[in-house]
C-alpha cells in the first residue's frame, strides 16, 4: 500500500478490528470451554460442576493461557527470523 490512509479509513479499520476482536473472544471462550469441558466434566450424576471439576476447569484455563503465551513467544521469534 503506497498512499497514506485517510482518517475515515483508519476509523473503519479500527471498527473492523474491534468487531473481529469481539468475535474472536467469543470463539476462543467457546472453544476453550469445549476443550476444558471434554477434559474435566466426568461426573454426570449432578448437573452443576463439582469441586474437582471446578478446580480442573480453573487449571485448564490457566494452562491454556500459559501455553498460548509460550507459543506466542516462539512465534514471535520465528516470524522475526523470517
Amino acid at each position: 500500500m503506497e498512499r497514506k490512509l485517510s482518517k475515515k479509513e483508519e476509523e473503519k479499520i479500527v471498527q473492523e478490528l474491534n468487531k473481529m476482536q469481539m468475535l474472536e473472544m467469543v470463539d476462543t471462550s467457546v472453544n476453550l470451554t469445549n476443550k476444558c469441558f471434554q477434559a474435566c466434566a466426568t461426573n454426570f450424576r449432578i448437573r452443576t460442576l463439582d469441586d474437582d471439576e471446578q478446580l480442573c476447569v480453573y487449571k485448564c484455563v490457566e494452562k491454556n493461557t500459559n501455553f498460548l503465551s509460550a507459543i506466542n513467544s516462539h512465534f514471535v521469534k520465528l516470524s522475526g527470523d523470517a
Binding site: K19, V26, T28, L32, T33, F37, T48, V61
Partner: protein, 86 residues
C-alpha cells in the same frame, strides 16, 4: 459497532454455544448408536450435560476476562427448578 452488529454478534455467540454443547454432550452422553430411540440415561445426561457446559462456560469466561464477568446466577431459582426425584 451499532445495535445491529451487537445483535448479530449475540446470535452468533448463541449458535456457537449451541454447536459446542451439542458436540461436547453427544460425545459425553451417547455411547453407541445401536438404537434410534434416546434412552432414559441419555436424555437425563443431555439435560445435565447442557447445564454443566454452561457452568463451565461461565467459569472459563470469568477466568479469561475477570472485568466483565457474568455475575453468577443466584442459587435459589435453580434450586427450585430441580425436580423431585433427585
Amino acid at each position: 459497532m451499532d445495535d445491529i452488529d451487537v445483535k448479530i454478534l449475540e446470535m452468533k455467540m448463541i449458535s456457537k454455544m449451541f454447536t459446542g454443547i451439542s458436540e461436547a454432550c453427544s460425545a459425553k452422553c451417547i455411547s453407541k448408536y445401536s438404537e434410534g430411540e434416546l434412552n432414559v440415561g441419555e436424555a437425563v445426561c443431555a439435560e445435565r450435560c447442557a447445564q454443566k457446559w454452561m457452568d463451565t462456560f461461565k467459569n472459563v469466561q470469568s477466568k479469561i476476562n475477570p472485568q466483565n464477568a457474568v455475575p453468577a446466577t443466584p442459587a435459589e431459582p435453580a434450586e427450585q427448578k430441580k425436580s423431585s426425584w433427585f
